[in-house]
Symmetry: C2
Subunit: 279 residues, 2 copies
DNA sequence: CGGCATGTTGAAGAGACTCAATAAGTGTGG
DNA sequence: CCACACTTATTGAGTCTCTTCAACATGCCG
C-alpha cells in the first residue's frame, strides 16, 4: 500500500481551490486560520481531535502529560526567539508521534500547519505500551532517528546553502510527503500544503525571498507556478541537484514516504477513533 | 565529584601555552595537527586509542561496525557540502558515545577537534550490553536527548541569530565544558580548546567574523582576550543574555556539566583500558 | 462591495562574506 | 641561540546577497 495523499479518502477539501487548480482537478490547500483551538483537558485519552490550521497543540510551557499521534495533516515544531522571530525546527507528518520531547521547557511549541486530525495519548500509557511492545519500540526509535536526520539536513542547509538551494531541496522533498499528481507529459503537480510564512520560517529566510526564489526557479524552467499553492515540477532531478541532495534524495524520499503510521495507527485505533472511518 | 578539566590529572599539556597564559598558570590548548591517524581494524574491542587533533575517527562512508566512547578530548560531528564547505553539527564531549548514528551513509564524518582518548567498542557488543542493562539504556537515551536539544539550539541560533549572538552563547556554554578557571576578582578564564576554524564551522560563519566579533565583545567589556586560546569572561550573565540563552542557560549548563561518563566509563573500563591510569 | 489574509514586487540599506595582506606564535634546523 | 618555514589568527577593503520596509495585487468571505 502506498503512502500518499492522492489515495486518501480524507484528503484536503476542495474548498480553497484556486481557479487554475480547480480546472485541473487538483487537490486544494486548506485555509489557514488563526483559530486557537486549545487542546484542553476535556478529550479522553486516545480521543480523536480535529484542528484547523494554526491551532496550538502544545504550548511553550506544557505539562508534557500528553503526546499526539498525527492521523492526517501537518504539524510544526517551532521556537520563538526573543524578538518574536520564529524558527520551525521540523514538520511532523501523518503517522508520526509528536510531543514526546522530555520535560517541555525549552521554549518549543507545536501547532498545526494545516487542518489536522490528531489522536491524544497519555504519556504514561504510551511509555507502558512501548515497554511492552518491541515492534512499537522499534518503530518509535526509527522515527526519532528520522527526526534527527531531518534536523541535521535542516541545520546544514541553513548553515551552508543559499535560500534558493534550500527551497529547491524542500520542494524536491515535499513531493514525497504532499499531494503529488503526475501529468501525462511526465511532469507532476505538487500541492504545497503549508503557507509561504511556514516555508520561510522553516528555511530560515523571509516570505519575500521565498517568493522571489520561487519565481527565479520558474524562470530557470525547473518548476511552473500554477498558483501559490500548486507547483508543476518540471525537472525533479534538477531540483534535487540545485538543493544539493542528489546523493541523499533516494534515502530521504524513502523515509518520508514510509507508511510510518501502520503500527501506531493500529495500536491506537481503539476508543473513539475506531468508530470513525477517517481513522 | 565535579566534572571539570581543572581537576583532571590528564588535562591538556602545557606545551603550547602562550606567554600570557603561562604567566597566569592557565591550562594550554593542544596543537592542532592534520595527522590523519586512521582508526584501522587493528585495535581490539574496548581498546584505548589516543589521537592527535584533526584525526579522522569515522570516515564519511564507514561500515558503522564500531562506536566510540570519548574518555578525554573533544570530537566533532561534521558534514562537508558540495563546495567543500564544512558544517559542524555537534561537538562530542568526554563520556559521550559517538558513532551510533544508523547506517553511516548520510555524508557525516567524525574527527577529533583536540587530542583525544577514545575507547573503541563493537556495535554488537554495545547493543547487547544496552539490552541487558537498564541503567546504560537510560543513560544512552539521555545522551541522545541532549544531542537533539543541542542540535535544536544550533539550528535556531544559525537560523535567527547574528554571528555575535551565536558566539556569545557558545562562549557562555563553553564555560561548562572547557577549562574554566576562576580568578580572585570574580571573573574567570576560559580555555578555548577548539580552533577558530572549528568555531566558525560550528556557528556557520567564517574565521574572520569570529575574530571580529570576539574583538567587538572585548570592546563591549564582556570578555578579555588573554591570547587566542584564553578568554577572561568578565560578565557571564551578559554573555548569556547576548546569546539569548538567559532562560535556558541553567538547563543547558547542567547537562553539559553532568558527569556523563560515570556509567559508560565503568562499563568499558575493562580490557586494555583498565591497565592505564588515564582511564 | 469592502475587509482581511495571503502573496508578490520594488528599492534601499546593512550585515556578513570574500579576498588579500599582515601579525603572532610554534617548531625545526643549524 | 637565532633564522626560517609554517600554521593560526587578525585586520582591512570591497562586494554582494539577503533583509527590511513599503506598496501593490490577489483571492476569499462576510
Amino acid at each position: 500500500m502506498e503512502f500518499g495523499w492522492n489515495n486518501r479518502a480524507d484528503g484536503p477539501p476542495d474548498a480553497k481551490l484556486s481557479r487554475g487548480a480547480r480546472a485541473a482537478n487538483l487537490p486544494g490547500r486548506p485555509l489557514e486560520q488563526t483559530q486557537s483551538h486549545r487542546a484542553g483537558p476535556t478529550y479522553l485519552s486516545g480521543d480523536l481531535v480535529t484542528l484547523d490550521a494554526g491551532a496550538e497543540v502544545i504550548a511553550e510551557r506544557s505539562s508534557g502529560r500528553h503526546i499526539w499521534l498525527i492521523r492526517s495533516g501537518i504539524l510544526r515544531l517551532q521556537r520563538f526567539s526573543f524578538d518574536g522571530r520564529r524558527q520551525i525546527l521540523a514538520l511532523a507528518l501523518p503517522g508520526e508521534i509528536i510531543g514526546y520531547e522530555t520535560p517541555w521547557r525549552s521554549g518549543l511549541s507545536v501547532e498545526t500547519a494545516t487542518r489536522a486530525k490528531l489522536c491524544r495519548i497519555d504519556r504514561r500509557d504510551f511509555e507502558d505500551r512501548l515497554d511492552a511492545d518491541a515492534v512499537l519500540r522499534r518503530e518509535f526509535a526509527a522515527q526519532q532517528q528520522d527526526h534527527i536526520e531531518r534536523l541535521r539536513w535542516l541545520t546544514c542547509s541553513i548553515g551552508s546553502l543559499r535560500p534558493e538551494e534550500r527551497l529547491s531541496a524542500f520542494l524536491a522533498l515535499a513531493t514525497c510527503c504532499m499531494p503529488y499528481q503526475p501529468l501525462p507529459d511526465g511532469t507532476a503537480v505538487l500541492t504545497m500544503l503549508i503557507s509561504r510564512a511556514d516555508m520561510a520560517d522553516l528555511l530560515a529566510t523571509t516570505m519575500e525571498t521565498i517568493s522571489r526564489v520561487t519565481h527565479a526557479l520558474e524562470e530557470d524552467g525547473v518548476v511552473t507556478i500554477v498558483d501559490p499553492a500548486h507547483f508543476r515540477i518540471v525537472d525533479l532531478k534538477k531540483l534535487a541537484a540545485l538543493g544539493r541532495i542528489s546523493d541523499s534524495f533516494e534515502d530521504m524520499a524513502t523515509r518520508l514516504k514510509q507508511p510510518r503510521d501502520r503500527c501506531f495507527l493500529r495500536a491506537w485505533s481503539c476508543g473513539s477513533c475506531v468508530s470513525r472511518s477517517a481513522c
